[in-house]
């Protein structure tokens, strides 16, 4: 798993290697210092070295500390450069990968989870990485180095290591092993609690309207208790780390003083060496502690790594690798040939069944049907947002799979049902349709979508800045902007998926009129709830439960199609009988 992320080091390989090298330098120098201290004590003070020796070795120690400081600072710097660079590369890599996803991939992951992967997960990975290239190198080297120093000073006394190191590692391992599942359990309970709170906040009006405060509180308190108990049970184990660590260090010190002291008394060991020995064993044991912490951190971040790798390894469900680069879309004719479709590729769970349709270039076709009858699914197949399960879709004389996706989608403009505007000016947003459009073209498209009038009435006109998601325009205005944006593409096919539901009927009619005038020769598909929105179309598709129930003109459908008639009546009752 980690191997898969390594290529993202990219141009920061040098810093990534330099960081641990600097750490090694720092550690080696640090390891020398207690040794030199022992020399001062044993040779300078107790021996014949005297002042000159003490000053010389002392100065050497100071210089070494200074050099270690430089090494340490450099390792910090290189770690920051490589850590942040690594994070940037992963972020870009994942973001670019997501750009190649098809609709089905996005549906599978959901947008919320993609956002988490790009934000929290990458931050976790970045922190884990920085820790690894510094700490995970430092701790083992310190451990080995300090052990070597200790052995070289007094091999006999280092037998103490043989007891204390295994005792501490086994205990730390056991604690970690038992604590880990408890922490996972705690995090899970914690997530559940937060989910409940989220639920509660979103539903606050429902809670209050139904006077369910006590009920909610009961649920919350129960969950909060679970979190409390889970946290207690996990941390209860972890707090053993510190005292066990202390106990091991303390016992080692006492043992060293006792055995070492006896050696000193017998004249086989020196006092300075004894005290440096104490420092070495402390360094060894502290390194062990650090290693166990690193393990815990890595285990926690493993979930983040795997989520990122999962995102990177996802294969786009559809691609245009086999398409003909030179193929252009000649006209706006659309043919559905025995098309079956299922969102999960399951022929027992068909959303569209045996669809056959022929739409001539330049026709206006209305699509009508109840909630959940697959109207949206039908039109999403035309710009190849999803691939069919069986059958084929032919646009402009060629199978949609033969075109490059960009060619196809540039010519088939689709106004999605849940449409999104982006932060930026109105003009910027409209120019998504065509980046090189002149102001004149932008205005023309806005006029056709009946958006021009309200745009110029805004204080900054076309330069009005929209908030994220277009929050500062009304639903109807937003819909008209998204229509204008699609028209700027000058496409051969325009698809409006319930795009005028929030627009009043008069404006709706004006948009359709403008379409008739300006979009001569452009095939137009209109999904609508209101019969009035489609009644003047060349033909109307009535779709029911994933099958085509009728495909004819308004007048003919009124005569022949029961569903169409029902829809028509349900809408005309209120108003038309008075006109």
């Amino acid at each position: 798993m980690i191997k898969k992320l390594l290529p993202f080091l990219g141009e920061y390989k040098r810093e990534t290697i330099l960081t641990p090298l600097m750490v090694v330098g720092e550690v080696v120098l640090e390891l020398m210092i207690p040794f030199l201290m022992a020399r001062i004590v044993d040779y300078g003070i107790l021996g014949d070295g005297g002042m000159p020796y003490t000053i010389r070795v002392g100065s050497l120690m100071i210089v070494m500390a200074l050099v270690a400081l430089i090494f340490g600072a450099l390792s910090g710097k290189y770690a920051a450069i490589s850590g942040m660079g690594f994070a940037r590369n992963i972020r870009s890599g994942l973001f670019e990968k997501i750009q190649t996803y098809s609709f089905a991939n996005i549906d599978k992951f959901t947008t919320a989870s993609l956002v988490t992967r790009l934000t929290t997960d990458i931050t976790n990975t970045q922190n884990a990485f920085m820790m690894v290239i510094r700490m995970a190198v430092r701790a083992p080297i310190m451990l080995v180095g300090a052990t070597i120093m200790a052995v070289s000073i007094n091999p006999q006394l280092s037998l103490i290591f043989l007891i204390s190191i295994p005792v501490l590692s086994v205990t730390l391992y056991l604690i970690g092993k038992h604590a880990h599942p408890r922490f996972l359990d705690m995090l899970e309970k914690y997530d559940t609690l937060n989910e409940k709170v989220q639920d509660f906040i979103v539903n606050i009006r429902v809670v209050k309207a139904f006077v369910r405060e006590d009920h909610e509180e009961e649920k919350f308190v129960a969950d909060a208790k679970k979190v409390r108990d889970a946290q207690l049970s996990a941390e209860k184990l972890v707090v053993l780390n510190m005292p066990i660590m202390q106990l091991t260090i303390y016992s080692s010190i006492v043992a060293i003083i006792w055995f070492g002291g006896n050696m000193v008394i017998q004249g086989t060991f020196n006092i300075g060496e004894l005290s440096s020995f104490i420092m070495y064993i402390m360094q060894v044991l502290i390194s062990l502690m650090m290693i166990s912490m690193i393990f815990i951190m890595l285990i926690i971040s493993r979930a983040s790594f795997s989520r990122i790798v999962e995102g990177l390894e996802e294969k786009p469900v559809l691609d245009d690798d086999d398409s003909d680069q030179t193929l252009d879309l000649n006209d706006g004719s659309i043919i559905f040939n025995q098309v079956d479709f299922s969102y999960n590729q399951d022929s027992n769970n068909l959303v569209l069944k045996d669809i056959n349709l022929t739409i001539k270039s330049g026709e206006t076709v209305g699509i009508i049907g109840g909630t959940g009858s697959s109207k949206t699914t039908l039109v999403q197949l035309i710009p190849r947002l999803y691939d069919v399960l069986n059958g084929e879709i032919i646009v402009g004389g060629h199978n949609v799979k033969d075109y490059q996706l960009k060619t196809l989608r540039d010519q088939v403009a689709m106004v999605l049902q849940n449409n999104v505007l982006f932060t930026g000016t109105i003009k910027d947003n409209l120019k998504w349709g065509n980046e090189n459009a002149s102001d004149q073209e932008v205005i023309e498209a806005a006029k056709a979508a009946q958006a021009h009038d309200f745009i110029v009435s805004l204080p900054n006109g076309y330069d009005t800045v929209l908030g994220q998601g277009g929050v500062n325009v009304s639903g109807g205005q937003k819909q008209r902007l998204t229509i204008a944006r699609a028209l700027l593409k000058k496409p051969k096919v325009v698809i409006l998926d319930d795009s005028t539901s929030a627009v009043d009927t008069a404006t709706d009619a004006a948009i359709r009129k403008a379409f008739n005038e300006n979009l001569q020769g452009v095939t137009t598909l209109i999904i609508a709830q209101r019969v009035t929105s489609v009644s003047d179309a060349d033909k109307i598709i009535v779709i029911d439960d994933g099958t085509i129930n009728g495909f004819d003109t308004h007048d003919n459908l009124l005569k022949t199609n029961a569903i169409y008639r029902e829809i028509y009546q349900s809408q005309s009752k209120g108003v038309n009988d008075h006109e």
């Binding site: 201290m37 300078g44 005297g50 120690m61 100071i62 500390a65 340490g72 600072a73 910090g76 710097k77 920051a80 450069i81 994070a87 870009s92 997501i98 750009q99 919320a112 956002v115 934000t119 929290t120 920085m130 914690y190 937060n194 509660f200 906040i201 539903n203 606050i204 009006r205 909610e216 919350f220 308190v221 979190v227 409390r228 207690l232 941390e235 053993l240 510190m242 202390q246 106990l247 303390y250 008394i265 004249g267 006092i271 909630t371 996706l405 960009k406 403009a413 689709m414 999104v420 639903g475 593409k489 627009v503 009043d504 008069a506 829809i567 349900s570 809408q571 209120g574 108003v575 008075h578």
Partner: protein, 637 residues
Amino acid sequence: MSKQQKPVGGPMGGPKGMGKPTNIWETVKRIASYMKEDRWILLIVFITIIFSALANVIGISFLQVIIDDYLAPLINSDDSALMRGFITVIGVVSIIYIIGAASTYIFNRLMVGVSTRTLYKLRVDLFKKMEALPIKYYDTHTHGDSMSLYTNDIDTLRQVLSNSVTNFVTSLITVVGVFVMMLVFSWQLTIIVLIMLALMMLAVKTIGGKSANYFVKQQQELGRVNGYIEEMIEGQKVIKVFSRQDKVIEEFEELNEELRVNATQANTFANILMPIMGNLSYMLYAITAMIGGLFAIMNALTLGTVIAFLQFTRTFSMPIVQISQQLNAVLTALAGAERIFKVIDEKPEFDQGHVTMVAVEDNQSDEIAESDQRTGAFAWKEVKEDGSTVYTPVQGKVVFKDVIFGYDKDKTVLNNISLYAKPGQKIAFVGSTGAGKTTITNLINRFYDVPSGNISIDGIEINKIKKPDLRRSLSMVLQDTHLFTGTVMENIRYGRLDATDEEVIAAAKLANADSFIRHLQDGYHTVLKSDGGNLSQGQRQLLAIARAAIAETPVLILDEATSSIDTRTEALIQKGMDRLMEGKTSFIIAHRLSTVRSANAIMVLEHGEIIERGDHDQLIEQKGKYYQLSAGMFELT
């Protein structure tokens, strides 16, 4: 322990806990007040922390005694009394160390208990408060902000309470203890230590300060990158439809590089602080070793003193590094705690009502008798000052008299609204967005209070009725349909918790939701995740209608309850809706005129005033605004 957080309300803006607390002492006291019950435990914690820290300090001091009084004299001598003394000292040190390690365990273990209990109390307090807050609070605070109290602020506090607090105290006591011992051992060497300490402090201040500046910048950049990510992932499908991938990647790379540059700077400073501190402390060690050595040679200090002092310099600098590292975490946690207390200190919903709603045997007869069972009949019960009890049957007569209301003081939303709904009548409101339709319904259930004019139900002013009882007499289908995580069954039952499965199914049938529910994977036991995300808006509305239906209240409020249901399905559920509204006073808001056509009275609202009222036929006759609306001349959104 880091924690995976789901993006709640969006990760935009990066971590929220950047602020500094404004009143540290008050906040600490507030947190401490949550530990009141544990005060004896805290005392033990404090004592054991002292034991643990002092054991460490005293242990080192014994090094001097051991070296100077035993080891040095014992070299090449055979004094058995001295040898026994050596053994005794080792024994004493061992005992001190055992006490120290035991104390460390005790205070850590006790503190885990204290901190988990404290967090629990704090969470429950916060939640209780949030339940009691008026709707107005939620109007002015985003969901993301409220969630962040739980996900960020309490979580930071958890980490600080579990780790930092005891570390902090231990470090402090260790530093003080070591400092005292150092003075006792050698004031000359202590001066060197103080000089180095000042140098270290200076390093912390300059590097820490720089790092903090760059961290603020990093957070800003991170906020921009995360904001961009959020927006572009939300709009991912539009990007695909417009083949905008290349352009979007280009913009993203720019932001991402900007973040990298700032993050590298911020982290460089943060990363070099530790090695600099660590190595300065080694330098202190080296200088002490040299100068101490010189003193020892001149016989100004004993060898044991120098060696013990050297150990002290190591023990002295580590806690200082730790304190400087944790200070930031503690301040961040306190700032979070302050935000939590701010919410806890908010004013709760105001309720001075005393009239309650009770179940009665039969509210048609003259003698109304309370029933302890659910009878379907209710009465308002008012206990007068003289002790007598008056029962008024709950019928659902709603009267507005000259109601003036605005969400802000200086902006009126409703102007002089008067209306009269007889029991069982169907009243509809029509008008464009912002005309005040939803506001009217929000006043009936007292989501907001009326500053001028009054509203009464069955002749009783609504602010005399206890809020929970008032709301129990109304059931609402709200404009934005929200559902809870849980099964379909539980969601419908939310309307009446004691409803049987059969009643739930009956209500679902009434709302025409039964057939689609049966098509779900587990039928009524299908678990709805994250606000019913796996259902269409229309299906969610059907569930909300069923939820209101099961409540069986005398008054029904439907706010755009069928807006996302297609007209054909709406026609299908019309029968059920008629049955639901039978005998109930109902208020209906809809922009689809077919929905309101059969109302007894239709009110056309504009700019907070009722400009037309009458039934459908009358209003069409008038050829006023309603007529124009019905002819589709205006946008109703």
